[in-house]
């Protein structure tokens, strides 16, 4: 029910918003805030409720496909958090938009709600065709918003944005169609099974088609042409949503669709890893030179997301929580920064950072908040950004020291451009004379600072985020099998086999883990596993005590061997490179 | 010599051709409309003509469909004429070549 509400109710809200007055932003904004709060509450409930799925409703049948397309929503930790980002950022966008767009607020709210519904659908869809439907549907409200409320060059920006993303996902559509026509239906499992039966070159082609769509959406290095102009020209609240929630759809696609469906070869993984790192570095370098504040933030987002993509393709054990924390942290911090940049633009009338400055003295509360949020985005320990980047770095270190070193370089650069940004915007003296525009209102300030506080809270206790994480657990697989058809037991086995081959590194690690005697870490992990499986405290304690006693004699050697096997892993990895 | 179905079809074809030529070659918008009507009529005739070559059960459709197509043609003519009036008010012209705002 919650899932249906989150996906469909935003559209209903958009339609209801049409009934409100166009001239009176006050009344329409009240309704919009009400809806926004309701959606945020729902998304929090979704996170709290854990994994759940709706009934699979037959939707339509694609010509040439064997099974039909389902309207089938499934929430796992990753999707739920992304939905939280989308609803939360939309709410703040509605709040800040209230003061930015005087007359046309109603239309703004309508488009925001439509965008929110499409994003929620993207993050919750369990059916590939449904996912693709929402994935494309996101583009239109966003493009309309850009064209309707953007800056001076908005027409061009909207066109660039729409064409880039639509063209990027066109090959995916073809590939998806092809794959669906092979498969029993368009759920992940059957797609993966169908892919198994194709020959490798065809698999590769399909993979490239899928990758392209997500690469453009994220965006990753050579496909980022739309990003800077779009983020710069879009109204600031929309830019925040675009970077905070929508661009996550790309990374989400990598995790939720590419990894389960495609057996990735080492070459592809390596390529994507380095592409992600290249994006990170490139974005950071571009941000160093950008003079347009929003472009700077756009490139900074690009840099962070590049890191996230690299983290995804490190395929390490901790990849999923690491990337999720990074995404949530980035969504909140980058979103907040875009909102603040929008307010700065409203206040000073320009977004060229060379012409800004001195806002700390002129508008101290705003300045403090700006500095605070900038620090949060610097991945200072204690903030969620740090947890995300550290764990991603850790995953990268698994692939070898070089990627980690590059990521480290990226962190240094991020400090450089972010400090430059802060210095130019709020410190020093104003670079020119101007009449103060509308200041930040209390509502805006508090909503943005709530985002900041959330970053701190998640930074000190990331378990809030990581506990929600169970992508495709047992029950979901069974659920999908039920939908597929009764004789799917065999299939699920093959899928498991294919999942094992997703990364050689992973396999190596598993072997190493089995070969090692128990270490403290293993015990702890075992403990948590047992807990998850419903063993009582006493049972666990006794079991672990036994294991400890067994491995006590070997502990000294254990560390030793762990070290050796890790070295061996590193060596292997470097050889593979 | 008996009446052959092919004659009816030939007649329908001739009428259709004339209708099409009228619709496309004439510039006066009324003639365009009339040409369309003529072509529609020819198609109706063709329907009925073909229906008569079929056995009992199947010959029904060919004689019912023209009814519908006549009704649709009536609706079309109605809206079409209203459009003509509207355009004529704006353009003061019945030359269909003047109605060229459609070009992108």
């Amino acid at each position: 029910m919650l899932l249906h509400l989150l996906v469909l109710a935003p559209f209903a809200a958009a339609i209801l918003m049409m009934a409100t007055s166009k001239e009176d932003p006050k009344s329409s904004s009240r309704l919009a805030f009400l809806f926004g709060f309701a959606f945020v509450a729902m998304s929090i409930a979704l996170i709290a409720a854990g994994n759940q799925a709706t009934e699979a409703i037959e939707w339509f049948q694609i010509p040439g496909a064997k099974g039909s397309v389902y309207y089938y929503l499934y929430s796992h930790g990753l999707g739920a958090w992304m939905v939280f980002l989308s609803t939360g950022l939309s709410l703040v966008a509605l709040i800040t938009g209230r003061n930015t767009f005087e007359t046309n607020y109603r239309n703004f709210a309508i488009a925001i709600f439509a965008l929110m519904g499409a994003m929620n659908g993207t993050f919750l869809a369990a059916d590939a065709v449904l996912f693709f439907f929402f994935f494309e549907a996101m583009v239109f409200p966003a493009a309309v918003l850009i064209a309707g409320f953007g800056g001076a060059d908005r027409k061009k920006a909207a066109m660039t944005f729409a064409i880039y993303t639509l063209v990027g996902s066109a090959p995916m559509m073809v590939a998806l169609w092809y794959l669906v026509s092979m498969a029993d239906n368009s759920l992940v499992l059957s797609l993966a099974v169908a892919l198994q039966n194709l020959d490798p070159s065809m698999q590769m082609t399909l993979l490239l088609c899928f990758l392209l769509a997500f690469l453009v959406k994220t965006p990753v290095f050579p496909f980022h042409g739309w990003q800077a102009i779009t983020y710069a020209e879009a109204p600031a609240p929309l830019s925040a949503i675009l970077t905070g929630a929508m661009s996550k759809a790309g990374v989400f696609g990598f995790i939720a669709w590419i990894l389960p469906i495609f057996p990735l070869s080492m070459k592809v993984v390596d390529g994507m890893l380095w592409l992600g790192l290249l994006t990170a570095i490139y974005g950071a370098l571009m941000a160093l030179r950008a003079t347009d504040g929003k472009k700077l933030l756009a490139f900074s987002s690009m840099s962070h997301l590049g890191l996230a993509v690299a983290g995804v393709f490190s395929l390490s054990e901790s990849m999923l929580p690491a990337v999720l924390v990074l995404l949530v942290a980035h969504g909140l911090s980058a979103g907040a920064q875009f909102y603040l940049m929008g307010i700065a633009e409203r206040f000073a009338g320009t977004r060229n950072i060379e012409q800004l400055g001195g806002l700390a003295a002129r508008n101290p509360v705003f300045g403090s908040l700006f500095g605070f949020v900038a620090v949060l985005s610097l991945a200072v320990p204690g903030t969620a950004g740090f947890v995300g980047e550290f764990t991603v770095l850790m995953s990268l270190w698994d692939m070898g020291p070089l990627p980690a070193l590059v990521a480290g370089l990226c962190l240094i650069l991020s400090a450089a451009y972010m400090l430059r940004f802060v210095q130019k915007v709020i410190f020093g003296k104003p670079a020119r004379e101007y009449v103060d525009g509308k200041r930040m209102t209390a509502l805006e300030g508090s909503s943005i600072s709530i985002m900041g506080v959330m970053l701190l809270v998640f930074g000190m206790h990331p378990a809030f985020i990581t506990n929600a994480l169970q992508l495709f657990d047992e029950s979901a697989v069974q659920e999908m099998n039920k939908v597929t058809h009764p004789a799917a037991v065999q299939e699920s086995q093959t899928v498991e086999a294919s999942a094992d081959t997703t990364g050689e590194a992973e396999v190596d690690e598993n072997i190493a883990a089995v070969a090692q005697p128990m270490t403290e870490d293993d015990l702890r992990q075992l403990d948590s596993n047992l807990k998850a499986n419903g063993f009582s405290d006493e049972e666990r304690a006794s079991l672990i005590a036994q294991l400890k006693a067994m491995s006590e004699s070997e502990v000294a050697d254990a560390h030793e061997e762990a070290a050796e096997s890790n070295e061996a892993n590193v060596k292997e990895a470097s050889e593979n490179e | 010599m008996e009446l052959q179905p092919i004659y009816i079809q030939i007649l329908a074809l001739v009428l259709f051709t004339l209708g099409l030529v009228t619709a496309l070659a004439r510039r006066n918008v009324f003639f365009v409309l009339m040409g369309v009507e003529l072509a529609l009529n020819a198609v109706n005739l063709s329907f009925v003509g073909f229906a008569k070559t079929l056995p009992a059960a199947e010959s029904v459709a060919g004689q019912i469909v023209p009814l519908f197509s006549i009704a649709v043609a009536a609706a079309e003519a109605c809206v079409g004429l209203a459009l003509v009036i509207l355009i004529f008010r704006n353009r003061e012209s019945v030359d269909s070549d003047n109605y060229s705002n459609m070009k992108g």
Binding site: P321, W397, P401, I412, Q423, G428, T519, A556, H559, A562 | -
Partner: protein
């Protein structure tokens, strides 16, 4: 009273930060601002309470220390870290002077920052700094230490750029943060490197020590050495960043742009010594990799010498002190490099007192002269500000190692350990001694130029010179006492070894292990004391001869190092090396922006243009006349039918 929970120590500064930050935010709108007395009282109260807690805990601390785990922090596969605190001999010493000196300097700042617009904000930052610093030294795992590590870096950034209306201050702050970031990445990678060895559990200090001991016990040291050595080097990079060693030293002189109490607290007494703290904390790990310690030793030696030489040429009073800090930090690293971790911490301890006293004295002088920092415009101040002068002279005697003062004991200890422990000990000993002479020279120069001779500033300024208020003098006097007597906690030649015993549980294992493998030379400690004294006296004499008699100071235009507050000319070529990196980065950015991006944009818009042209071309087929369009479609139908007829249908 020993059952106090450990988290109470960082709690108070944190509360202070939140409270003061809120006050600062709320009052930012009003012209007058909150009452300074109230804010000042609050801001001293919180560090003082936490100092009290530390004292209470320190007296009841059991031998092996107190360990408390507060809660879980990060819990994901591969990374499980708890928030836990470790209160042992090492963190006790550090905490005592961090909170103690922190409280004193907060008190001092009330006077110094009087009337500043950001009064409340300043104290919020100071409290945040103390919180971070306490977390840094109190944490029981590397990751939590890193939280404090970056936290103090952040506070340093905020405080250096405190007067942010001047962009030069901001630039200095940015430089400090970015250079520190470079070091921090080293720290981060070091942690990752360790984590490869034994999982994330090893990031806990106890677990790490146990791990190393297991390696030693099992005789597997050689196997793990390469990775540990890499980790050690990476950690040392982190230390060079935070403690301003070669090659990351350039930010510290620039950091003098901040308010003087900040320089005293952060850039002299506490934050910059956290690198030394880290080395001592990881001593067990470093003890198995003597090769890395040699690197530490060499870097420390070079830095000490280099910074001392640079200090000779500064005219800005704070910069002299900044270089002197770098130089003293070099001493500490030399000690750590010679396996004398306890000596290095002892020097940290004494240095905190006398350097804080020097900085506060310098602050009082600047305050008295209404912001003048150029020593060439000072002189003869001993008559106008006698208390300040006395404090500074005591601290001066301490820093040059005059017998009986704090610096004498710690510096001699370091020199002694250098001679006995280090490879090529004689060489490093003489380098240290030479540095001590130079130290005495430039510090003598500072004292002479500031307090003796004639006043060289403008006349109207002279009239305004006044002694600092009591709230500034009291901390200075207390610190001066520390500068005199702190050394007696470990007066080796007098047989007092209290300090050594305090630290013994933490570092003695490491030192014994390291020293057990080399032969220790035995020399009479009195010999070293004599040499040290001689060096101090020699330096003072040289200073007097050059600067005292000739009344040299003149306002040379070309003699760089004008007290502009941000330019560090005399870091020799390190600024230029940094510049190379910056230029390289900028060049890459330029390439990325102007070439790669332009090419990509070019491709993008070319494709766009081609599509548009093709579209235009096609749209010219799109006939203007409706009839023609229809006819064309008709022709299409004809073609279609023709095809169907000719092929007999496609199906």
């Amino acid at each position: 009273m020993t059952n106090l929970p450990l988290w109470i120590i960082p709690l108070f500064p944190l509360l202070g930060t939140i409270l003061l930050g809120t006050i600062a935010l709320i009052s930012s709108g009003s012209k007058k601002g909150p009452s300074e007395g109230f804010v000042g009282a609050l801001s001293v109260l919180f560090p003082a309470i936490s100092f009290l807690c530390v004292v209470l805990l320190a007296f009841g601390m059991p031998e092996e220390g107190i360990r408390q785990t507060l809660c879980n922090w990060i819990d994901i596969p591969m990374l499980k870290v708890d928030i836990g605190f470790l209160f042992d001999g090492l963190s006790r010493v550090m905490l005592l002077f961090v909170t103690g000196i922190g409280s004193l300097i907060a008190l001092y700042s009330i006077g110094y920052m009087h009337g500043d617009r950001g009064f409340t904000r300043f104290f919020a930052y100071i409290n945040l700094f103390l919180f971070s610093m306490i977390v840094l030294v109190l944490s029981d795992s590397l990751l939590l230490t890193f939280l404090g590590w970056e936290g103090v870096g952040l506070c340093s950034y905020l405080l250096i750029g405190f007067w942010n209306h001047d962009l030069n201050n901001c630039k200095a702050a940015n430089k400090a943060f970015i250079v520190n970031r470079v070091g921090d990445i080293g720290f981060l990678l070091g942690m990752l490197c360790l984590a490869t060895l034994g999982g994330s559990a090893i990031l806990n200090y106890d677990a790490l020590n146990k791990f190393i001991e297991m390696l030693i016990a099992g005789g597997h040291v050689e196997l793990a050495t390469p990775i540990i050595a890499v980790a050690g080097l990476l950690f040392f990079v982190g230390c060079t960043g935070k403690s301003a060693q070669i090659p990351l030293l350039t930010w510290l002189p620039d950091a003098m742009a901040g308010p003087t109490p900040v320089s005293a607290l952060i850039h002299a007494a506490t934050m910059v010594t956290s690198g030394v703290y880290l080395l001592a904390r990881l001593s067990r790990m470093f003890s198995v990799i003597p090769e890395v310690l040699v690197v530490v030793l060499i870097v420390g030696m070079l830095t000490a010498f280099w910074a001392a030489v640079a200090g000779l040429f500064q005219n800005d009073i704070k910069k002299v002190l900044a270089y002197s800090t770098i130089s003293q930090l070099g001493y500490m690293f030399m000690a750590a490099g010679a396996f004398a971790f306890d000596a290095s911490i002892f020097h940290v301890f004494t240095h905190a007192f006398f350097k804080a006293a020097l900085f506060l004295g310098a602050g009082a002088v600047i305050h008295a002269l209404a912001g003048e920092q150029d020593m060439r415009r000072m002189g003869g101040l001993i008559k106008k500000t006698p208390v300040t002068a006395c404090v500074m002279i005591f601290a001066f005697l301490a820093i040059i190692g005059f017998p009986g003062f704090a610096g004498f004991w710690s510096k001699d200890l370091i020199l002694e350990r250098l001679y006995t422990n280090a490879p090529f000990g004689e060489f490093f000993y003489f380098a240290g001694l030479l540095t001590a002479v130079i130290t005495a020279v430039y510090m003598g120069r500072l004292i002479i130029m500031t307090f003796f001779g004639e006043y060289r500033g403008s006349k109207e300024k002279e009239a305004h010179i006044h002694e600092a208020p009591a709230s500034m003098l009291i901390p200075m006097v207390i610190l001066a006492f520390g500068a005199v007597f702190a050394g007696y906690l470990w007066a080796d030649s007098m047989g007092i070894k209290f300090f050594e015993q305090t630290l013994a549980p933490v570092v003695s294992d490491a030192q014994n292990y390291a020293l057990g493998r080399i032969s220790v030379a035995h020399v009479n400690p009195m010999t070293f004391a004599c040499f040290g004294t001689a060096a101090a006296l020699l330096g003072m004499i040289i200073a007097y001869v050059i600067y005292g008699t000739k009344r040299l100071p003149r306002l040379h235009k070309k003699w760089g190092s004008a007290p502009e507050g941000f330019k560090a000319d005399w870091t020799f070529f390190f600024d230029y090396i940094h510049e190379i990196f910056i230029v390289m980065t900028k060049a890459f950015a330029f390439i990325a922006d102007m070439i790669v991006d332009k090419i990509l944009q070019g491709i993008q818009w070319t494709v766009g243009a081609i599509v548009e042209i093709v579209g235009d071309g096609v749209s010219s087929f799109q006939a203007r006349k409706v009839r023609v369009q229809l006819t064309l479609s008709l022709v299409g139908v004809v073609a279609l039918i023709a095809v169907v007829l000719m092929t007999g249908g496609l199906i």
